[in-house]
Structures are given as structure tokens and as C-alpha cells.
Symmetry: C2
Subunit: 678 residues, 2 copies
């Protein structure tokens, strides 16, 4: 086995990836083209990633610094001092390191590199002699280490630190943080396991499981993989570890605030899970690790479980925006088809976790269903979570907004009734902003996958990627204005021609497309496998593939059991879900009603919201004349004609606060025409 | 001035009412025919009042006893004992006494009479030498008396005790509790007021204001009226007393959990109130006292304020069921037109308070708008709050129910996702059940009002009432199956003919009616004043007046700004609002859609839900065939024909738990016909 310990520079970091590539290839799964091989150089995403680099990442560091999260690693907290290092502060810093590391690859920056070194040195200094590393438990509650895995996020923080270390190593080749985290992981490996003197537990908030697999993949140390297996397999077994642990703390297990351990996917063994339940971020991180394990161990049963969970989520719990987790109460899943709009929690981290999970599913099976979900989440729920300026964030991403509504339903008795839900500069629980930053900074990794003799294009994003197909180096470039139009031009560059299968994702929203190779339409020469147009060829240097995806405005309806959306329609064009927002509309959004079968036109607006395609058409607006002083009437409202404007959902709340709606009532006699004759 | 202190028996209790009648007559307002002059002897209400007497009142005593509320008056609580007498426990016992007292009048019961004596003796024993009477502050926090008027409900409890004392005195003629409460009121009168050594404050939860006016009316002691005036006039003045008091406790005023004092209608002087805001029960009790004062002082400005508040509530905040207060967060009012259905708080006490307020407005001006609200609340929200068996209660009365929904949105992280909101046996905060019991036990009082030369019939309820019109004793009997049909037969009995105006309420839902006097149609002989058909006559013994109210099934629509109800319709027949409940319907309620202009028929079902009129008709049911595994589609749902059944809203949740909806989506091309031509 390849020994990760010899790695000490960028080349070796690269060879770690090569090593993983080889393993995956043996297992017949795809592997992503890594963030450090895939550059985004224009179009829709380049400017957003530049804002992420130049605005968001610096702001997030400043917040971590100003709020004490960085300095907590000095371990100089004293009783009575404020603020008290919080149990999950370390994870915020870790995600920032991860984001900053990815960013260094696409945009070398000596100052950021030095800042990272500085922060890592501080972190390193906080490591305990036995390898333990956690600011809260080292400085605030040193006697409580590992006493409350259920609630205290220790292994979760360790997991994020490990991900940061792996990213920093892959980005810079430096082992400074990686070595610290290997020592911590070695220590955790001593503490947890089946041995008599080991803790037979696992974390209430999943994360370390996927992190250990990443660590295994760069170090090759199988014990990290095995520890991940242990955490995953132990989860949900009876007697519940969380019960035992609670009793040890002198608490009644039943006092757990969320009632059931399904909140943390720990009510039954993972292979028996058959529905998405509980806290949605936790679920996504667990499922991600389960797919990783399924690949590593060639364990189909784990993949089958994930498929079952995926089907449940996709058919009953996924918002049209790619948001998941409808309730603030449990930050998670509720009942099937219960998808309220005003109070939709749709946590940013949950949608990001959904991307992580589906990205892993996609490597296991190159199936458009997974890339569709990635794209849905990315262009809608996830992008909505950050202001266009890159400096403000949503934690929850509701699908409609009215004065006084707030998806944090249970947080406060003090919601200002005249205020609209708006993005914030930071949060006490700040998991979302740095999670977004690390996703955007590594977005290149989500575009392509390679296998031994195939290249799959999952996302249409302008840029260039380098890869090694069938033994030969190759580069692929994409030119596209996607998602604003559906024309994508791909060019291949290599020294010599290569035999491989090119797989081009045909998004599920697209019903008409054309593939043109070197000027010649080739639809009939390929086959569609799992939603990918697949064409095997002896590809030559300079080959040009043009994909034209038809991108009309679509009206989308919900399953009839989504009771909030009965009689409502959503508008979508390409991957972009639209909303009507007050700033563009002269009548109150709440009064706007669409008509069946009216034409809706799209047009690109250069100067609006950093450039967006807007939708326009003839709609109706309910008249309130005649309703003065009247709340109920035997006459139904009368409507006026009204020309509406809709904007991409992700761009809402970037102007004057006002009403917003994704699901819009739709009226029309056609409903009756659809009535089955008896 | 008549001296209340000479009263010591039932006759004198009656003469107290006579005294008030005289005052009111001088002031040209109506006064209600008292509960002890108005008997309900059949039809819709008699059986409900009998259940209230035989089931609800005994159960509520048992709950008060079992939970420690009664024994708290022993004042033997010791540190560490559970339960700790709660700050508003006294009010629950007080409302039970009030209910039991009213009940004694319509159904003499020596055992209940003795039980009341026993409880009153215990209460009397808890009175402190200075007159103070409060179980919590006498036994748990004796040093905190009057230190937190904002949150601690001391004067609120005193108010309910006073109401109980007045009711007990009116019902039995016994002064046992009245004397205790007069002493307490005298003490409060010493403690509060403009004097240098007096507290310049008022209660966070209004109630004592209306109670003191009741006490004034039975005792004739003007200082009680003046103290009420003080509490009302002082409210909302700056600097805020609640700020001063908080500082005295060493707290920051801004830490008040509800942010603004509008929560307790104390942000500005009462005459400047122009919108219904805050906690809805508190608002109703304050507004009730304001109308009382307006009558007592002939102060039109208070009535004008109440009219302004009434218009705001009625046009923007009243649920179709007569519920008010849409949010559990503040137990109160939110934004205009914000009337969510699943999370509708619609507290039982708030609707009862709405009845109290409108009943007072109605005495000031005999206007059908007020009696319409009383009737709407009574037959819908209020009656929904108790099971048909009389043994279970709703605190909140939502307008739709689905698995996992609960209007107590913020109460718990543990809502069982598969459970349906159901009535409970009791509550930690048990204000609602005894409030309902006292309203039902005194319902007779809401049917008629008299003035010098007029008799107004507000509610159509079978029974007999005695009154004194234009100097002559008279009795009126009503025979009716109302609300199931609109035929009401009134008969007059007196020694000699009397000149007076008979005012018969024509409910606002009724567009066609017939008045027949002694067999002769008389519509043209009367005039309609403020919604009352008014006919002046020299009425003779044995005169028979028949009122036939046309009672078709109505489709009701909401103001277009009630965003939850866009495209939805509610069904109403007479005063009864309907819902579709799962128990009667073979397809899931969430999939049922009504069609415009289809016939809806009504029929009386003797054996269903203690006898109700149900509604039936042709509706649609959304097909889910073809949606397996699909959450979103470009095709809208297809519908099947379906024959629906709707039941009175008040009767829901008395059978197998299941889905329920008041507002039902309605489809039809007619909407487009209503489009204004451009």
C-alpha cells in the first residue's frame, strides 16, 4: 500500500489524489476532477467565485476573529470571561480554512497563505499532549471531554478540522495542519472502538465519518477508514450509546430535547434507514459518508440504503429550490409532502450537504438524477443564501416572504411585524456562511468526473479542466452563458487522440436538445444512459462538441398532497427557479395571480441584479376596491389585468425589502377540462 | 345614592340589578336581561348547557382540586413542595365559582351550593389581615407583592375573584365572597392611585377594570368605579410604569419578553389606541371595560375609540369562525390580513372576550354588527373549544388540521409528526375551560336587552325570559330549532298591553326574511335600524311574532389580502361555519377541491354529532395516480368527481383524528369571467 507519510510537498499532494483515482478506477466508479485541476474562468460562476474570494472569505475571517473564534485557540479563557468558546466554534474556523485553502489554488495569494500558516500555528499550539484538540473542552470544561457525544459536537468539530487539514494539504502541499489532525485522529482512534477500555459511541452530529474517509484517502492509513466504518456501523445500535452516556451524566435519557434519536439518525442501524428523518444537515453528512463507504468497501447494501433514502427525499421532501428540512423546530424533515413556504427552513448547510451527498452518489453511478439535484440546490437555495455583494447571509431560505414572517418561527417573540426577513452579517451559530464559502471555492470539482475510459460533464460552467483519460493527459474547455442560455461549446485538447466515452448530462428539465460534433449533428450517434448523452469515439485534439439545450419557460406543479401549493404554479427556466418580488411589481405580490396558458417571455437584463434573465407576462391582480372594511363576502374577488415580472429566486432580497413568492396561484378553466369523464 | 351595604339576601341582589337598570335607563343605553331572568329550555343550547352543568363544571372543580388550585388557599405551601401555587391559579378557581354560581340559578343544587360555601370559606381564610388575597404571593413570594404588575397577574386574579363574588352574590344573595372581595378591593383602592404613597401602576393583564365596574354596579360604591377609571386612564402613560417597576426590580425594561408594551395595550393612552394589537384576551378585557366606562360616564370618546378598534378588528383580524389572535407567539394579533389557518391560535378565551366586548357594545348601541360577532364567535370558535361530551377542551382553535400540525407552534420540539391536534383534559395554564363554563352557564343573559320602551332580541335561543318593560312585567318565550333552521316563534305574556318597540335582529348573513305577527305578514310595518327589524306597537297578551330567516348554504370568500385563502371558499349556513373532516370523507381532505356553482345541499342528521345539519355536493378530488415518486411536474393534477360531506366546524375532532379544513380550494372558469374588460 502507498504510504502517505512520505508526502511533503505539492507533488506528493497530487500523487495522493492520483492514488485515490487509481483505487476508484479499480472499483469502477467515477472520481471527480479535483478542484485543483478544474478552473472556472468566466460566465455565470467566475464573478461569484471572485466575490467569494475577495469579499466573503475575508469577511468570514474577520467575523471569526472579532467574535473570538480564532483567539479561542489560545486556550486562555478564564471563568467569567465573555464570550465563552462555544462547543462548535472550531468548526467555523475549520470551514474557513478549507475555503481559504481551495481559494489559494485558483488564486494564489501569499498574504492569505501566510494568514493560514499563522492560524494553523495557533491551532497547532492548542493541541493537547495526547493529541486532543478542541477549544471549548480544553479551556471551558476540561473535565467533560467525551461525556456528551449526543449534544456537544466534539467529533463533529474534529471532522471539520480534518476536512480543513486535507484541503490545506491538497491545496498547498503543506503538512502543517494535516500532521496535527493525523495526531488527533490517531488519538480518537485510541479512544473510540470496540475495545474494553474504549468508548463505544459516536457523534450526535455526523461529520467525522466523511472526514475520516477523506483523511484515509490522502494518507492511505486504513485505520482512519476503519474508524469511520466503526462510527457508521455502531450508530443506532441498541442499547443506545446516548442512553448509556446520559445515565453516566446522571440524566434521564428521555429528557433529550428532540425526543427521538431519529433527530440524529441514530434510532436504528444505518442500513435499516428507510426514510429521511431528523436534522437535515446531520442526515446529509451521514449519507455522504455512507456513499463513500459503499464505494470504498464495494458495499452495495449501503448504496441501496442511500438510494432508498434518496427516493424518499426526492419524491416527498425536496423543495423546488433544492432546499430540504421544512421546519425550524428540528432544523429538519417533517411529514411527507409537508413543504410550507413562508416557514420553509431550508437551511443553507442542508442544501450544501445535499450537494455533497449527491456528488458522491454521482461518482457511484453517473445518473442525471443526482446531478439534477446538485444543480437545483446550487442555483437556487444555495445561491439565495448569500447577497449579491457576498457580504450577507441567509441561514434559512424560505420560499415566500411577507411582512412579519420569519422561518425561524420559534426563535423569538420579538419578530417585528412590519419587517421582512433579510440576510444577516453573521450568526451566533455560524455554520452556513463558511460552508458556502468552501463549496464555492471548490466548485470546479463538481463539474466533471472521470473513470478509466469515460469523461462525464455534470455541470455546464465556463472554464478549463485537466485530466488523465485512458492513460493520456487531456484538457477540456467549456464556453457557455449557462444558465441564461442552453448553448455549451466544449473543446478537447490533447497530444494524441484518445478512445473514451463522453457523457454529457441532459438535465431533466430539458426535453429537446441537439449535440453537434465538429459541426455535425450527432444526436443519433449517442445513447442516453441515466440521463447522460453518451457517445464513444476516438476523440482527436481540437474536437469541438456543441450541446444546445432548449430552455423554455416552464410551469411547474406540485404533487397534490403538497397542500400549500394546491392551485399554485412555479416558474422555472433551465435550472433557475423564479419568484415574484415586490421590487419589480407595482401591485402587492400577494394579489398577483397567474393565468393558465398565457405566454411568458424571458429576457436578459444586463443591469439588473448583476445580470439576470427575467420573466414577464400577462397575469391578474386581485382588486381590493369594494372590499373596504370587508373581510368576508359572498362575492369572490374580481381581477384586473397585470403584467408581472419574475426574477431568479436566488437574487431575491437584494433590493428594497418586500413581499416575495415562488408558488403563485394560477387560475384557468383548463382545470375542469382535465376532469376525467365518468 | 342607593347603599349596597344593606344587601343581604336574594331580594336585595335583585334590587342591585334593578338599581343598575335604572342607571342604564337614565343613560339611554340598553341593559341585558340578566342570566337569572332568562331561562333556556330546549333546542340547540339547552342540552349543551346541561352538559356544562352536569359534566364540565364538576370536571373543572375536580381538576382545580387535583392540581392543587383549591388547596393553594390553605396557604400551607413550603419551599421545595410541588406543585408551586402559580401566579394565575386563583383566576381558574374564580372562574369556576362564577360558572357554578350561574349554574345554581338555572338548576338549583344544594350540593353545589354547599361546595361553593366550602370553597368560599377556604378563600376567605386566605385573606390577609390587610385584605390582600392571592395564594401565590401570600405563600410563595410574600416579599414580592405588587413588585411586578407587568407579568405577575396579581390584579388580574383579583379581578376574576371580584367577578366570582359578584356572580355568587347575584345568584345566591349570599355576601360571603362579596364581602371578602369588597375588603380586597378596598385594600387595592388604598394601594393604587395618584397619592404620593400609592402605586401609580396597573396590571399587565387587564381584567380588574371590568370587574371593578361590576362590583360598583352591585354595591353602588363609587370608589370602585373610580379605581377602574384610574387603572384605565393611567394605562400607557409615559414614563411607563412598567419601566419604572422593572428598574426597581433591578432589571432592564428592554428585557421584556414581548418587546413592546403594545403586547398588553399599554404603549399609549387608551383613547389614542387605533389598532388591535398584542395579546388578544387582554385586549378584549380592556375594551370591555372601556365600553362599560363609556356607558357609566356617558363618555363618547371611549366609545368612539372602541368603534375604531372594532372596525380594525372586524375588517382585518377576525377569523370567519369568530376566532381572533392569529399567533401563538404573542397569543395575539399580528399583521393586518395575516390569518393563517393551520397555526391559527384563536384562543378560546379571546373569542369569549370578544363576546364580552361586543355584548357591551350592543348595550351602548343596538347594532346587529355586534350581535353578529357574538353569534359568529359563539357557534363556531367558542363551541369548537369543548368536546361534544363536555369533558375535553381546545385552548387554540385552528381552521385546519393535518398530521403533525399544531397551533402551539412554539411550545415544543416534540410534536408527534403523525398525531393530530386534539382536545385535552386540562392545561397547565387553564384559563379557557372555566371561561367557557361561565359563559355557557350565563348564556341566558346574551339573548335579550331591554331599554325603557324597547325589547331587543339578539340571539335566537329557545326559552323564556322575564322583564319589566315600560313599567309592566312581561314574559317572552322563544320556540326555535335555530341554528338548524331560521323559523323563530316568539310569544308575549303580560297582564295588560304595553307600548314598546320590539327589535328583532336580522343576522347579516340573512338576505331574505319574513316577519309574521299574529298570522299576518308585517315586513312593511317595521323598519330596519342597525340591522334590527324594529316595530313599535301596543303589544297585547298572547301576541305571536314569527320570524322566518331564509338560511341557504353560502359560499364565503376572503379579502384578497388574506393570502392563505386565495382561491379558497368557506361554506356557511346561518351562523354555522362548516369544515370538511376526514371522518366523513373517503378521500384525503387535502385533495378535495370544490367547483364553482355546483349545488350544495343541506340535511339534518339526527344521529351524527348529537344532531347536526351536514352539507353535501359534487366536488373534485385530485388524482395521485401518475404522481408516484414524482414531486414536481409540468402537468397539473387531474381531478376525479367526488361527493363531499361538510360538518359544522364546532363539531370537528369528536371522532377519529384526521384532516380538517374550513377554507377549501375552489376551481372554476367563472373567475375569468369576472375579469374587467380593459
Amino acid at each position: 500500500m502507498w504510504n502517505g507519510s512520505v508526502l511533503n510537498n505539492q507533488e506528493n499532494a497530487t500523487s495522493a489524489i492520483e492514488y485515490w483515482r487509481k483505487i476508484m478506477s479499480d472499483k469502477k466508479s467515477f472520481i471527480p476532477i479535483s478542484f485543483n485541476k478544474s478552473e472556472i474562468d468566466g460566465g455565470f460562476w467566475a464573478s461569484r467565485i471572485e466575490i467569494n474570494r475577495s469579499v466573503t472569505i475575508p469577511i468570514e475571517f474577520k467575523q471569526c476573529k472579532d467574535t473570538g473564534r480564532i483567539d479561542a485557540f489560545k486556550l486562555d479563557w478564564k471563568l467569567g470571561h465573555e464570550p465563552v468558546p462555544h462547543i462548535f466554534w472550531d468548526s467555523d474556523v475549520a470551514k474557513w480554512i478549507e475555503a481559504a485553502s481551495y481559494s489559494l489554488v485558483t488564486h494564489p495569494d501569499p498574504d492569505l497563505d501566510s494568514l493560514l500558516d499563522e492560524v494553523i500555528a495557533l491551532i497547532s499550539s492548542a493541541q493537547q499532549p495526547d493529541g486532543y484538540l478542541n477549544t471549548h473542552f480544553s479551556s471551558v470544561e476540561p473535565d467533560k471531554r467525551w461525556t456528551n457525544l449526543r449534544d456537544c459536537h466534539e467529533l463533529y468539530c474534529a471532522g471539520h478540522m480534518i476536512e480543513a487539514a486535507v484541503a490545506h494539504f491538497q491545496a498547498t502541499g503543506k503538512r502543517s495542519l494535516l500532521d496535527v489532525l493525523c495526531r488527533y485522529a490517531d488519538y480518537i482512534n485510541e479512544v473510540f472502538g470496540i475495545g474494553e477500555n474504549q468508548i463505544h459511541g459516536y457523534c450526535g452530529h455526523e461529520e467525522i465519518e466523511l472526514a475520516l474517509i477523506k483523511l484515509y484517502r490522502v494518507t492511505g492509513k486504513r485505520e482512519y477508514l476503519e474508524l469511520s466504518i466503526y462510527f457508521i456501523e455502531e450508530r443506532g445500535k441498541k442499547p443506545y450509546y446516548f442512553d448509556i452516556e446520559a445515565v453516566n451524566r446522571g440524566e434521564l435519557p428521555s429528557t433529550h430535547q428532540h425526543g427521538s434519536y431519529s433527530y440524529m439518525q441514530a434510532d436504528k442501524p444505518v442500513r435499516t434507514l428507510d426514510s429521511v428523518e431528523g436534522h437535515s444537515v446531520r442526515a446529509m453528512y451521514l449519507y455522504s459518508a455512507m456513499v463513500d463507504l459503499s464505494i470504498e468497501l464495494s458495499d452495495e447494501s449501503l448504496f441501496v440504503t442511500c438510494e432508498r433514502l434518496w427516493n424518499h427525499l426526492h419524491s416527498k421532501h425536496l423543495y423546488i429550490t433544492g432546499g430540504i428540512g421544512s421546519s425550524a423546530k428540528n432544523e429538519g424533515f417533517t411529514n411527507d409532502y409537508n413543504l410550507p413556504n413562508e416557514t420553509a427552513y431550508c437551511e443553507t448547510c442542508a442544501s450544501i450537504g445535499l450537494v455533497y451527498w449527491n456528488h458522491r452518489m454521482l461518482q457511484k453511478r453517473c445518473d442525471c438524477r443526482y446531478s439534477d439535484v446538485i444543480e437545483r440546490a446550487l442555483y437556487n437555495n444555495i445561491l439565495s443564501s448569500i447577497s449579491l455583494n457576498g457580504d450577507r447571509f441567509f441561514y434559512a431560505n424560505p420560499l415566500s416572504a411577507f411582512a412579519g414572517t420569519d422561518p425561524y418561527d420559534c426563535d423569538s417573540h420579538k419578530i417585528n411585524p412590519s419587517a421582512f426577513y433579510q440576510r444577516k452579517e453573521w450568526f451566533g451559530c455560524a455554520c452556513c456562511p463558511p460552508n458556502l464559502a468552501r463549496l464555492l471555492a471548490s466548485l470546479g470539482e463538481y463539474i466533471y468526473s472521470e473513470s478509466d475510459d469515460a469523461l462525464a460533464v455534470h455541470l455546464y460552467v465556463q472554464g478549463e479542466a485537466k485530466m488523465h483519460i485512458n492513460g493520456t493527459d487531456m484538457a477540456i474547455t467549456q464556453q457557455t452563458q449557462y444558465p441564461w442560455d442552453g448553448v455549451i461549446l466544449l473543446k478537447l485538447a490533447m497530444e494524441q487522440s484518445i478512445d473514451f466515452t463522453l457523457r454529457l448530462r441532459i438535465p431533466s428539465w430539458c426535453t429537446k436538445y441537439k449535440v453537434i460534433i465538429n459541426g455535425k449533428e450527432c444526436n443519433s450517434q449517442g445513447t442516453v444512459e441515466f440521463g447522460y448523452f453518451s457517445i464513444r469515439s476516438n476523440w482527436k485534439p481540437g474536437d469541438e462538441i456543441s450541446l444546445n439545450l432548449d430552455m423554455p419557460v416552464m410551469r411547474v406543479y406540485s404533487h397534490p398532497d403538497v397542500r400549500e401549493n394546491i392551485g399554485c404554479v412555479a416558474l422555472q427556466r433551465g435550472p433557475i427557479v423564479y419568484c415574484i418580488e415586490q421590487a419589480d411589481n407595482s401591485v402587492p405580490v400577494r394579489r398577483i395571480v397567474l393565468q393558465k396558458n398565457t405566454e411568458i417571455i424571458s429576457e436578459f437584463n444586463h443591469d439588473l441584479l448583476n445580470g439576470v434573465v427575467t420573466l414577464h407576462g400577462n397575469a391578474l391582480s386581485a382588486q381590493v376596491n369594494g372590499w373596504e372594511g370587508i373581510l368576508y363576502s359572498n362575492e369572490q374577488p374580481v381581477y384586473d389585468h397585470y403584467n408581472f415580472t419574475a426574477i431568479p429566486y436566488y437574487a431575491w432580497a437584494n433590493r428594497k425589502p418586500g413581499e416575495m413568492k415562488v408558488w403563485i396561484p394560477e387560475l384557468g378553466e383548463q382545470v375542469l377540462d382535465s376532469l376525467k369523464s365518468d
